[in-house]
Each structure stands twice: as structure tokens, then as C-alpha cells.
């Protein structure tokens, strides 16, 4: 670990803190409707779609709108990918996307996952990238933000189960937050050297005289929104390790920063909406504690390097001309600090884009991204999904605290009783159930085992990571698993759908149930949710729930691999 590395990590954290409030305040105004500078555009969209923007929807109707929008947009994407060869903006003459991949891709992008079992540059036409994938990058992010805001409204008011208007939240989140930020970021990325064109692929002659085809395309516009919307994936197969996708140290920092800036701002927005800003900051603090713990652990593991490399004569000590540590699978332009910071941020958020290959991290370094997703990606998290995931854990925390002191639990003035806890438990249990059942199936079925690139515990880690990634709607890959098969495309596609919608529904139900409850004033028996004690309890609940659920699987994967690495055995 170097002072330079730590300075970059601390600068990243400080800037995140600095932008949380301004962006949070802006988003409050977006979702309370007071920001009107794009009102004419809004009116046209509502009129064209037959939406009544004044309707205050019951949570069931809000959830219905979200599901309807998702199924229609997913089917349109499926059909468009299957017809890609007959559609324009396909200068490379790419054929139709295979049916299994079209299903998985449509599911993956609809759910903000962006798991890709293909190389973008040789599979997707420019039209598919821009009209299908980029469209979902905006709308899936806006849907997540809408759902989080709906839950916040349920907590903040008593409205007979009504949570606002899904269509209005979707449109306003896209128009006022995602489009302007993505536009500005895309311009900066272009200035930094990220490509944005519709040119034919270029055939270049390398220094050795070989011919190499260089993929082109509208990359910057796609990258800006996939980072800001915590969608992830990559325009190119190696994501942001590709110089055309991530050209400079500044583009690297901005792409990495874009991962967490909206989720961090939304935490402030939540505090404002529920009129308890201290609670918003308490959630922010809990998120930051786990985020920093993850960065530190991964940085330590990667900077320490692989003892097997050292035993074979590789210099793993950092010096002026050697980054030291474990540089396998890392971009030399970015080094260890920027690789682990990205890996941590991308899996704290539900992003999944990478600038280094997680499969090549040391066992403990690779376990950090895995655990981050398994904790539910509530550490700032995906845009919207991170916030509502953290709120679910906060409700669970006050419930446990209430049991400890023998009082009816309350969260921000709302009583937490049987029906609320049922929804929280559905939310908490569905996630590991999907991951562990699908992983167990794949660890015994021949079709599942055939996808492994490595044997032993590392092979299990590859399978576990894949299902963790898709169910957590992350989309990052351990890079070792061959996911482009009938079995994996279908099962991983289903995993993304379950991980998104089977968790969103009970979350919106919780919002609806809380919106039916009256707001009780704080009393002496109310567990305070603004204190360091609450932060400690919340972090403990997150870690304990995650550890109890996934520790056995982790023991058979990265943990045993780490111990065997010490004994000189590699997989």
C-alpha cells in the first residue's frame, strides 16, 4: 500500500461526501415536483402516453406500473436484438443476437444488471447499443430511483397506501437527473479521449506487422449513463480496462466517481423527505463504514500480493518503478489502488463495470467484491435499489432493537408490526435463496459444471459469483465462467428478474403498509435512529445477516482457496 494510493482513495471519499448534499437537495426538488424547467417536455410525454400526472397511486398500482413498463420494454429489446441484422446502424454487419443471449441480455438490462455473456464490440450493432441497451440504462436506473422515492413517501406520510405516481417519477428521474448528468459526463469523457462515433471498424497494422481490427462506436454516451445509472457492463468486452472506454487517469476517476454519486445523494434526499436529516446522515455513515472497510481489505490483499508469485522470483515489493503486489489482471495505467477502489465501488453499487479482472484478484481481494454484492449492495448501492435495501435493513434493525428492549418497534414514527416484518423478511430471504439454490444446482448439474474455467474452490467461486452478481443486479463477472450457454443464459436471466422484481414488490408493499399507518411522535421508548449506536447496530445487522447466510458458501470458495494459496496450491 502506498501513500499515493491512499491519497486517491481519500480524495474519492471526500469528493463523495462533498457532493452528497447538493445532489441530494436537487433530487428532493425533482421528486417533490418543485423543479419545473422541463415541464413542457414532461407534458408532451404524459399526453403521448396517456398518463394522468396528478394520480396518486396505491402501492399495488405503483408496482403494477413498474412491472408493466418492465415487461413491455424487455420484450421490445428481445425482438430488436433478434432482428438486429435487418435494422440500420450496423456497419459491421453483425448477425442477430442468439435467442438465449437476447433473453438474458433483455432481462439483464431491464433489471439494471447488465450482465453480458458476449463481447459488445462483436455482438451488438450501434443501434442495439443506443436504442435498446442505453434506453434501459436510463429507464432501469430511473425505475430504481422511483421505487426508492416511493418507499420514502410511504415512510414520510399517511396516505392510505398511496406512494405517488410511478410514471411521473420515472419521467422526472430520467429527464431531470440522469439525462443532464449523463450528457455532461459524456462530453467530458469525449474530451478525455473516449470514442464517440459511427465509423466503420478500423483495421490497423501493429508494430509487429500483424493486422488488428479496432472496434469503433458511440462509446462515451453509453459509458456515461451506465456508470451514473449503476447499470454497469461495458461497451467493450474488457469494460473500462479498454483505452477507448477509459482513456486517461481523469476519465478513470470520473467513471469511478459516477458509480456512487447518485446513490450517495439519494441518501440525503431520503433524509429530507422523511424530515430527519440526521437519520439520512446516519445511513450515509453506515454505508461509508462498510465501503471503507471493503476498500481497505481489498487494497491490503492486492498490495500484499501473491506469495506464490514471490516464491517464483516475481518482485512484489512496491518501488518507484514497480507497483508491487498482485498486478495480474490489472491495467498498468491504473495500478492496484484504482483497481481495488473501482472493484469495491462497482460492487457496493449495483454497477458491475470493471477496470480490472476480479477473477485475477487474490482470494481475499476477490472475496471483497463478492461479499459486497452478498451484503445486498446497500453500501450506497444501486441508484435507488441501494437506498431501499438499506432502509429494509434499518427497519430490521429497529425491529431487533425493539425486541431487545421489549417495546413495539418504530421507524421514523411508524409502528413496525407483523405485516411490515413479513415484507422485510421476504426481501431478505429471496436474495440468498435465489443465489444459493441456483449455485447449488450449477455445482452438481453437468451443464453447470461445464461452464467452469477452473477446478476446485475457484471454480465454485466462479459459479457463486455469477449468481450473486445477477441476483444482486450487479452484472460484474469473475471472468472465468463460460456463461454463454443455454443453461447459464436462461438461468442467469431468470436470476436477474427474480433479484429485481421479487425483491421490489415486498419493498413497495412495505412502503404501502407504512403509508397506511399514522405518524406517532417520538417518545422515551423510541429507539433513536440518528446516533452512533444505531449506526453500529445497523452495520452489525448487515454483516451478521450477510455472514450467516453466505459464510458456508464462502468457506468452500474463496476462504479455502486463500488457505490453500498459503500452502502453495493454485487453481
Amino acid at each position: 500500500m502506498t501513500a499515493n494510493g491512499w491519497l486517491q482513495i481519500l480524495f474519492y471519499s471526500a469528493l463523495l461526501l462533498a457532493l452528497t448534499k447538493p445532489l441530494g437537495v436537487y433530487m428532493v426538488r425533482v421528486y417533490d415536483g418543485s423543479l419545473r424547467w422541463l415541464a413542457p417536455v414532461e407534458r408532451v410525454i404524459y399526453r403521448a402516453c396517456g398518463v394522468d400526472p396528478e394520480e396518486d397511486q396505491h402501492w399495488t398500482r405503483y408496482a403494477g406500473g413498474l412491472l408493466l413498463f418492465s415487461v413491455v420494454s424487455m420484450l421490445v429489446t428481445y425482438v430488436a436484438l433478434r432482428l438486429q441484422a435487418h435494422l440500420p446502424l450496423n456497419p459491421a454487419g453483425l448477425p442477430a443476437v442468439a435467442d438465449r443471449q437476447a433473453f438474458e441480455t433483455a432481462a439483464s438490462f431491464t433489471t439494471n444488471t447488465n450482465w453480458q455473456s458476449y463481447s459488445g464490440e462483436v455482438t451488438m450493432s450501434y443501434l442495439s447499443q443506443m436504442m435498446q441497451l442505453a434506453f434501459h440504462n436510463f429507464t432501469s436506473a430511473a425505475s430504481g430511483m422511483a421505487a426508492a422515492v416511493a418507499l420514502a413517501r410511504g415512510i414520510a406520510r399517511r396516505s392510505g397506501g398511496r406512494l405517488g405516481n410511478f410514471w411521473v417519477d420515472l419521467v422526472r428521474g430520467t429527464l431531470y437527473v440522469l439525462l443532464p448528468l449523463a450528457f455532461v459526463l459524456a462530453l467530458i469523457l469525449v474530451q478525455q479521449g473516449v470514442i464517440q462515433n459511427f465509423a466503420q471498424y478500423v483495421t490497423a497494422t501493429t508494430v509487429e506487422g500483424a493486422k488488428q481490427v479496432l472496434a469503433m462506436g458511440p462509446a462515451a454516451s453509453q459509458i456515461a449513463i451506465k456508470q451514473l445509472g449503476t447499470n454497469g457492463g461495458g461497451f467493450f468486452n474488457v469494460n473500462s480496462a479498454h483505452p477507448f472506454e477509459n482513456a486517461t487517469a481523469i476519465s478513470n476517476f470520473l467513471e469511478m466517481f459516477a458509480l456512487l454519486v447518485i446513490p450517495a445523494g439519494l441518501v440525503y434526499t431520503f433524509g429530507r423527505m422523511v424530515k430527519n436529516q440526521k437519520h439520512g446522515w446516519a445511513l450515509w455513515a453506515a454505508m461509508f463504514v462498510v465501503f471503507f472497510g471493503g476498500v481497505t481489505t481489498a487494497y491490503w490483499a492486492e498490495a500484499r500480493g501473491n506469495p506464490i508469485h514471490a516464491a517464483r522470483g516475481v518482485d512484489i515489493v512496491a518501488s518507484a518503478d514497480n507497483p508491487g503486489g498482485n498486478m495480474e489482471g490489472k491495467e498498468v495505467r491504473f495500478g492496484i489502488a484504482n483497481s481495488v477502489l473501482w472493484a469495491t465501488a462497482t460492487t457496493d453499487a449495483s454497477n458491475g463495470s470493471v477496470n480490472a479482472m476480479h477473477d485475477s484478484f487474490t482470494p481475499i481481494g476477490g472475496m471483497v467484491p463478492l461479499v459486497n454484492i452478498q451484503l445486498g449492495e446497500e453500501i450506497f448501492g444501486g441508484v435507488g435499489s441501494g437506498l431501499y435495501g438499506m432502509i429494509m435493513m434499518a427497519v430490521l434493525t429497529v425491529f431487533i432493537a425493539g425486541l431487545m428492549v421489549g417495546r413495539t418497534p418504530e421507524y421514523l414514527g411508524k409502528k413496525i408490526q407483523s405485516r411490515e416484518i413479513r415484507m422485510v423478511m421476504l426481501y431478505v430471504l429471496i436474495f440468498p435463496a435465489v443465489i444459493l439454490i441456483f449455485t447449488a444446482l450449477s455445482a452438481v448439474l453437468p451443464a453447470g459444471l461445464a461452464g467452469r474455467n477452473n477446478a476446485g474452490p475457484h471454480g465454485l467461486s466462479e459459479i457463486l459469483y455469477a449468481f450473486t452478481s445477477v441476483t444482486g443486479n450487479n452484472g460484474s463477472a469473475f471472468a472465468g465462467l463460460t456463461g454463454s450457454t443455454d443453461y447459464y443464459n436462461t438461468l442467469l436471466g431468470l436470476g436477474t428478474l427474480l433479484g429485481r422484481f421479487a425483491m421490489m414488490v415486498p419493498m413497495l408493499a412495505l412502503g404501502g403498509f407504512l403509508a397506511e399507518r399514522k405518524i406517532a411522535p417520538e417518545s422515551a421508548g423510541t429507539f433513536p435512529v440518528t446516533t452512533p449506536l444505531f449506526v453500529i447496530l445497523l452495520v452489525s445487522v448487515i454483516l451478521i445477516v450477510g455472514a450467516l447466510t453466505f459464510f458456508p458458501a464462502l468457506s468452500l470458495g474463496p476462504l479455502v482457496e486463500h488457505l490453500l494459496m498459503g500452502a502453495g496450491k493454485l487453481f
Partner: protein, 38 residues
Amino acid sequence: MRDVAYIALTVAFFALMIAYVRGCERLGREATGEEERP
């Protein structure tokens, strides 16, 4: 044929989710009844 299967799978999943919404609503109602019982 496989296209039809994948489209049917997608539609079936979202139909299941609509039923899930109704199930959660019913679960909430039942729990409210339990809370209100003396």
C-alpha cells in the same frame, strides 16, 4: 420455436409477479387482522 419459448417465459414471469403483488397485499391484510385481534 425457441423465440416463442423465451417470450412465453418472460410473460409468465411477469404474470407471476402480478400474482405476487396480490399475494403480498393479502398477506398484509391478514397480518392487520392478527394485530387487531385482542
